[in-house]
């Protein structure tokens, strides 16, 4: 579970658990987990990222789960692609991370390709656009899975929007190191969103959503912002 989902958007985690359980998956949440180390990695602090990465390996190797499911293309990529990258010169950790990488799946990838489910039989009224996080799109190549799942949501009109492949401008510490460019990138997305006529923005990455929602609110938009897992969770928004 990404640390920012844990701390900022816990309801996304709740929806993930509910959706997985509905599919008959036994869900384990290793409570010793913290962060995958990506903030340090993206800033060039590889030693610190390795230290946090080692802990991640320890925690998840200790669980007897078949898969590690993560509701973020970005954190999934950190583990599946960039652990082998930062542990490249350390044979032991490199092998450990490569073995673990086999078990790590982004949420929609798991639902569609492991569980073989394309339609969760849920309804959600609205006109939505889907923003695919860049790691999910390019490193993982998991783009059709979330789109397919969303297209089967009753009442939801999934719209095309301009330049949908463009980054939202979050980029981790980039958002605070290069705030003007980062904000201008968000504005570009919001311009396209406005043009599409959508009232809902959906993504598989809460970090992209946090950035876009932050800018949407600041510019006076009341667009509904949801993580994919929330859309697929029939109980999202009800009680609790």
């Amino acid at each position: 579970m990404p640390c920012y989902v844990d701390q900022i958007n816990p309801q996304v985690g709740v929806s993930v658990v509910r959706v997985l359980r509905r599919l008959g998956v036994e869900v384990i949440y290793p409570e010793g987990q913290t962060c995958c180390g990506q903030p340090a990695f993206n800033s060039g602090f590889f030693d610190e990222a390795r230290a946090v990465g080692r802990r991640f390996l320890d925690v998840f190797e200790g669980e007897r789960s078949d898969y590690i499911v993560c509701p973020s293309g970005s954190c999934t990529t950190m583990v599946s692609h960039y652990y082998p990258f930062i542990f490249g010169d350390l044979p032991v950790e490199r092998e450990r991370s490569e073995v673990l990488a086999e078990r790590v799946r982004e949420f929609s990838d798991f639902v569609v390709n492991v569980m073989g489910v394309k339609d969760l039989g849920v309804r959600r009224e609205g006109k939505a656009v889907f923003h695919c996080g860049c790691h999910q799109r390019r490193e993982l190549g998991v783009l059709e899975e979330p789109r397919g799942l969303l297209s089967n949501v009753g009442g939801l009109d999934l719209l095309d929007w301009e330049n949908e492949e463009l980054c939202c401008g979050f980029g981790g510490t980039f958002a605070v190191k290069m705030p003007d460019v980062s904000t201008a990138m968000a504005d570009e997305k919001i311009k396209a969103l406005d043009k599409s006529g959508a009232d809902t923005l959906i993504s598989g990455d809460s970090s992209c959503l946090m950035h876009l929602e932050g800018r949407l609110r600041r510019t006076g938009h009341n667009t509904r912002v949801l993580h994919l897992a929330q859309v697929l969770d029939a109980e999202d928004g009800k009680a609790g």
């Binding site: 579970m1 640390c3 989902v5 844990d6 701390q7 900022i8 958007n9 816990p10 309801q11 985690g13 709740v14 658990v17 949440y29 409570e31 010793g32 913290t34 962060c35 340090a40 990695f41 993206n42 800033s43 060039g44 602090f45 590889f46 610190e48 230290a51 946090v52 802990r55 990258f85 860049c134 790691h135 390019r138 490193e139 492949e165 463009l166 980054c167 979050f170 980029g171 981790g172 980039f174 958002a175 605070v176 190191k177 290069m178 705030p179 003007d180 460019v181 904000t183 201008a184 990138m185 570009e188 946090m210 950035h211 929602e213 932050g214 800018r215 609110r217 600041r218 510019t219 006076g220």
Partner: protein, 497 residues
Amino acid sequence: MPKTERPGENVETGKPARKRETEDHRPEGLRSRVEGFNDRARKAVADEQLHDSIELFTHKSVAGRNAVLNALPEAPELRERAYRIKQETMANLDRYLEQMADAIEARGGNVFFAGDGEDVVSYIGDLAQRKGAKVITKSKSMATEEIELNRRLEEDYAGLEIVETDLGEWIAQLAGDTPSHIVGPILHMNRRRITEVLSRTAGEGLPPDVEALGSFARRRLREKFLTADIGITGANFGVAETGTVVTVTNEGNARLVTSVPPVHVVVMGIEKLVPRFTDLSVFVRLLARSGTGQKLTVYTNFITGPRAAGELDGAEELHLILMDNGRSKLLGTEFEEALYCIRCGACLNVCPVYRQTGGHAYGSTYSGPIGAVITPLLKGHEEAKDLPHASSLCGACWEACPVGIPLHDLLLKLRNQQVEEGLAGKAQEIAFKGFESTMKRPALYNISSRAGRLAQKPLLRDDSVRPLPGPLSAWTDSRDLPPLAEKPFRELWKEGI
């Protein structure tokens, strides 16, 4: 700074929501806090005319590129082959350079190995003096931009006139400007600005239409083509086995630069080599498609040696300058892939950062993702400390690169190199040490999370954190920041979902 804060209101208490914060808190003018790329980017982002010009160019280029590459089923395979050819070239670069030099010399050409820009300038300057040259025509070349050849030649060798003949480069030269894109040097100028520049050169007001401006440029450049004593070109590729220099253009200017003056000088970065003539079938097909969305550029020139007995055209003298300028030190390192670049500009066109800022914000000859990678590599981190950070690491550059250079991974390695060399700064070092110790210890992570939830209480307004001072203002000046949830997921999990 525009203030819109209204103290005294507290949404924590659940009072009826007042009007949301919809103000941008960013201060007017430039922020002095962050130097370099940020300041230039800030200016660029605010320049609507620039934004329109960039959008027009990059959209057209990306659409064109996608169309021709999608129509080429073997494109992914070509990309793979291009990568492997470059990999093999770099592994044996000394041998291929020797082969290239031997082939050129065997045909009566001259070869000079230049360690840096200074070597290139003095070689060409001395040559010009020996020849009594006055006018030098030049076709577009990033290698010569990199070493500021024009400025240095004109400063060091009085009386030399150097004329750029690529239309965009010429206009940039007349305006005293530098290229802002590898392929479209003046994409940052609109028609009004171009008309202004050319009218000033003409000494009369020219009408702002393509026909009139084009014909003025043609007339004026033709005079220079015909009187030039030396022609300088870059090289898109150099073929080691045959000693062939390949240049591609759409204006045909490289043909006039290489065939009219008696002397032709090629300035080629040593990484431009390909081993075999047949390798061109991979690279030429990728270059035009990726750069301009053409199947082939209008002119593709192959020059193999000076004019030989019985030949009707070509320069009488050929000088090939093989320029290192920091390249060879990347060979065999984790940054070697940066040398695979064929300067098509595709990574600039797809880069969401470049699309907001244009090329000048990078403050270097090469802009966009490839510029952010090679500028610190060729010139050192001190010259371009902020460039590796001028990227959200979205990977669009890597996806678009016809040679498959993992540009965003190289940016990450450069960031790491800065950290290892102690260039990241104390504040970041402390922050990430703290990050490490917190994330390594769940107990500390939980304490921090509780402390964070307490600390944020006075800062909350509506359902977000109010604009903050200090480093986090970089976020909150222009975007709302969500607060930490009342209960983190781990607590909800314990309570039972």
